[in-house]
């Protein structure tokens, strides 16, 4: 029987599912309901300097009828007095001793102020501390949040102050609003941080009201850039987690954050090295109850894969991430259409012609393959065909498909495998699962990478700017 229990930076966790520091962790009453629903831990809504919030605060991107594909906020840290938050931490820990409570902290950049808040949070019973160096708006203008996270020296200095005082594990929460997330991560590690969490929200403008010309969210006719999160940011978050976890000078126990809402999302973050995962938007959208399937689904997957603990697969996809120059240039796949699954939407056809390499053709019912018939010619032919309403008995009898498949042969595209570059586009646009598969073609060539070609002198070495740290 697999288990979700795990240890994160020395903290014993009943499962890896934590609520991220955000409105779902605003107060003790909420967090206790969340624990009842199955969340293993909660990072308290960031505690610190007093603030005033604006209204409204949120905006979102809907996509093709799906609500909140991306979510944006201009809210600040907790608007409740620190004493109240700390008193409630104590109460939650007393009533839920097995669940993890992390205090998220953000105070002004003074050594004594940080010492004081660390002491009080730990006295209240927090299992660990998360330093919020990521909030992209409002707090950064007062020298906190992202203003710290974006400057590696500040990040290192404050982490150092906290470590002087802390008795519990210290997690540094990284901002994605920086060109190389490994730089602040390395700074935190140098200062002795016990763990990292990533990512916080991404600077964004979600949209503009086209009647009033006011960007959203609107505050008295004006707006301000916000922090973007939700499903849209997951790929960015995964990349940043991988970058940090593949860097020996940065890697630490990682709490993965960004767009997580399902067990699959959680598994992916763990496969790239995360020890726990944090969730905000999905819980704001659907409520705490989503954690049940996250746990249930992850356990079922672990059972299918034969994993007993999270450690059995944590980080297992990291070795499969390479720099581009180390990929095999002699590996080749081509698209294959499974005719019996095809519904004849011809989206792959238009995609390959306009967005790829013009190697999908609608010529199965022509006397010979025809690579010169463009989409415009195909459409014009159809438009010029006269069609009438069929009369039952008279016209409908015998009207059937022009081939052996349920879709007329004339509408099932054909891939020219000689020309196909194996880009994947058609298989991505096809609405039918497993209808277009990418099939391996044996090139008969041994694996060879760009780096090997450079080493062998087949291709010239690139010339970079002197001292570019990215090379």
């Amino acid at each position: 029987m697999p288990t979700l229990e795990t240890t994160f930076a020395g903290i014993k966790c009943i499962n890896p599912f934590w609520l991220a520091s955000a409105p779902p962790t605003n107060c003790g009453e909420q967090i206790m309901r969340a624990f009842d629903a199955g969340w293993g831990g909660a990072v308290w809504k960031t505690i610190g300097a007093p603030i005033t919030n604006v209204s409204s605060r949120y905006s979102s991107i809907d996509w093709n009828g799906q609500k909140m594909m991306g979510f944006n906020n201009i809210e600040l840290i907790s608007d409740r007095p620190t004493e109240v938050n700390l008193r409630e931490i104590a109460e939650v820990k007393r009533r839920y001793p097995k669940n993890t409570v992390i205090a998220s902290l953000m105070v002004e950049s003074k050594r004594e102020t940080w010492h004081d808040i660390v002491q009080r949070a730990e006295d209240a019973g927090a299992d660990g501390l998360e330093l919020n160096f990521g909030c992209p708006h409002g707090m950064s203008e007062r020298g906190m949040g992202a203003a710290v996270g974006q400057v590696p020296e500040y990040c290192e200095q404050i982490t150092g102050w906290v470590k002087e005082k802390a008795r519990t594990p210290v997690i540094v929460k990284l901002t994605p609003n920086i060109s190389d997330i490994r730089i602040p991560a390395r700074a935190a590690k140098r200062a002795g941080a016990d763990a990292l969490s990533a990512i916080n929200t991404i600077n964004s403008i979600t949209g503009i009201d086209l009647d009033t010309l006011e960007p959203r969210p609107m505050v008295d006719g004006k707006s301000s850039h916000g922090g973007y999160c939700g499903p849209a940011v997951k790929p960015i978050a995964l990349n940043m987690v991988q970058q940090v976890m593949s860097d020996p000078n940065a890697a630490l126990p990682m709490s993965g954050i960004g767009g997580i809402g399902s067990w699959q999302d959680a598994a992916e973050f763990i496969l790239l090295g995360s020890g726990t995962v944090q969730v905000c938007t999905a819980a704001m959208h659907y409520g705490y109850r989503i954690v049940e399937d996250m746990a249930d689904g992850l356990l079922a997957w672990m059972r299918r894969k034969g994993y007993e603990t999270l450690d059995d697969f944590r980080g297992h996809s990291l070795p499969n991430m390479r720099e581009w120059k180390n990929l095999n240039l002699n590996y080749k796949v081509v698209a294959h259409i499974h005719e019996s699954k095809c519904i004849g939407c011809d989206l792959c056809y238009t995609a390959c012609w306009d967005g790829a390499h013009q190697c999908i053709h609608l010529d199965r019912t022509l006397p010979a393959p025809n690579h010169f018939r463009t989409p415009d010619m195909v459409a014009a032919e159809s438009r010029s065909r006269i069609s009438t309403t069929p009369i039952p008995k008279l016209d409908l009898d015998g009207a059937g498909a022009d081939g052996p498949y349920r879709t007329p042969l004339s509408r099932i595209p054909r891939v020219d495998e000689e020309e196909c570059v194996g880009c994947n586009l058609c298989s991505l646009v096809c609405p039918v699962p497993e209808c277009i598969t990418m099939e391996r073609i044996d090139t008969g060539l041994a694996p060879e990478t760009w780096e090997e070609r450079v080493a062998a002198g087949i291709v010239p070495q690139g010339v970079g700017h002197a001292g570019n740290p990215n090379l």
Binding site: G65, I343, S387, T389, P392, P431
Partner: protein
């Protein structure tokens, strides 16, 4: 030239009829429309578009609903089909666009194309915006159009957009032909048909009502115009050919349907028999049910497999409570002054496939009203030339022969489309015919 018409205001509608014939397919609200629009895959060279006789670019207008560009959506529809609103309600979409939707092969419900089309058209009508097209620069040419049904309206719109004068002559007091007087009211209310024609008339189409064109007038019109378009549809319903047909209580489906649609008939007697099993017969039978008849029978000499009505229309009639008498044939009418019973004979099929009366299979069905719906005749007599001249155009079994791509008849100055050429199909077929003919006439006038 484009004087403002208001046909809709002349609609003789009745509140009682409106209450008895509510929408069969209610309109979408905005959220539902956008959700449905987003379900469309946006197929390339979409099969739904190919299946539509007017080739409306379906995915294009649907995506414009999803993007909240309703003006653009309505324009996309009207550009291909000037009766886009009527068609969205009247079309038998199960055998047209929705029947061709790829979703059928995906184990999913087809996209509700017609309801989306209606949504876009309703939005245009409600906005009060004008037709999004203007008349072309005057060419000095003119065309006379015989009949003011869908075929002529579509032809006239194409002509006006190309700067050609379009004069419509119709026997009835209001335009639209069967689109106005024939389509079941729960699909397309009479007033809605007129509302759409008010938009078309903004192009400067000229109308002459209560004018039945005869051979003499046709000759005059031919002389005074550069071309003639024949869009006079089909004629009266066939007679049974048995004694007593002139009796009170015997009517035909066209008069019956036009009667209730214009509010002249608002109730039905207890027992009604409809003779025939086509779409028109079904419309008449359903109307009798909704007008309050207790018992409505459809009488057909063959079985359900051979009926010419669409399968979904048959299902609809069953749901309305219509009963069916298969394999029977009317042999006589009984009644003193007013019909009281229909004499019927059961039929059987002989080895050579012909239908013969079954021995001892005679019975009588008590009825208060009999509605004949056994097909429409053609009415092309006025095309026979004056003074024993040959017919103006070549006919085949009463239908006008045309080149399908241009609508041109055997007589180059004459074009034709709609029911009078195809023997009776659907509104959308008439619109497609009229559109092709309008383009065909303009092309012919240019090279002439």
């Amino acid at each position: 030239m484009s004087e403002q018409t208001n046909f809709q205001a002349q609609s003789p509608g009745s509140a009682e009829i409106a209450a008895r014939f509510p929408d069969l397919h209610p309109a979408f609200d905005k959220t539902a429309a956008v959700t449905e629009a987003n379900r469309c895959l946006y197929c390339f060279d979409a099969p739904c578009t190919s299946a539509c006789p007017t080739h409306i670019d379906v995915p294009r207008f649907i995506k414009k609903i999803a993007s909240d560009n309703l003006e653009g959506s309505a324009k996309t529809i009207l550009d291909a089909n000037i009766l886009g609103a009527s068609c969205s309600r009247a079309c038998p979409v199960e055998v047209l666009c929705e029947g061709a939707c790829v979703m059928h092969r995906y184990n999913k419900q087809p996209i509700e194309i017609a309801r989306l089309q209606r949504f876009a058209m309703d939005a245009l009508h409600e906005s009060g915006a004008p037709l999004p097209f203007s008349p072309g620069k005057d060419t000095g040419k003119s065309v006379a159009l015989i009949g003011g049904g869908p075929a002529s309206l579509a032809c006239a719109a194409e002509l006006r957009r190309r700067g050609i004068r379009a004069e419509i002559f119709d026997a009835r007091p209001l335009p639209g032909g069967l689109n106005t007087y024939g389509i079941a009211e729960y699909k397309l209310p009479l007033a809605e048909s007129l509302r759409e024609i008010d938009l078309i008339s903004q192009l400067g189409v000229e109308f002459h009502f209560n004018t039945t064109v005869d051979a003499a007038q046709l000759a005059a019109l031919e002389a005074s115009h550069d071309a003639v378009f024949l869009g006079m549809g089909l004629g009266a319903i066939h007679k049974l050919g048995i004694a007593g047909e002139e009796m009170q209580g015997v009517t035909n489906a066209l008069d019956y349907i036009a009667g209730y649609k214009s509010g002249e008939i608002t109730t039905a007697p207890q027992r009604v028999a409809v003779i025939g099993a086509g779409n028109t017969a079904i419309d008449a039978a359903n109307a009798a049910v909704r007008l309050g008849a207790q018992e409505v029978h459809m009488v057909y000499r063959r079985g359900p497999e051979q009926m010419s009505a669409f399968a979904f229309e048959y299902e609809h009639a069953k749901q309305e409570g219509v009963k069916f008498l298969w394999h029977v044939k009317p042999t006589g009418l009984k009644g003193a002054g007013k019909v009281e019973a229909l004499e019927l004979a059961k039929l059987e099929t002989t080895s050579d496939g012909s239908l013969v009366p079954q021995a001892g299979g005679e019975f009588s069905l008590p009825v208060d009203l009999i509605v004949l719906a056994i097909g429409q005749a053609t009415h092309t007599d006025f095309l026979a030339g004056l003074d024993s001249q040959p017919s103006k155009v070549k006919l085949e079994r009463g239908r006008i022969l045309v080149d399908r791509a241009t609508g041109q008849t055997s007589n180059p100055k004459y074009f034709a489309g709609g029911d009078c050429t195809n023997g009776g199909r659907e509104v959308v077929d008439a619109v497609a015919d009229g559109k092709r003919a309008g383009i065909g006439i303009a092309a012919w006038l240019e090279v002439k």
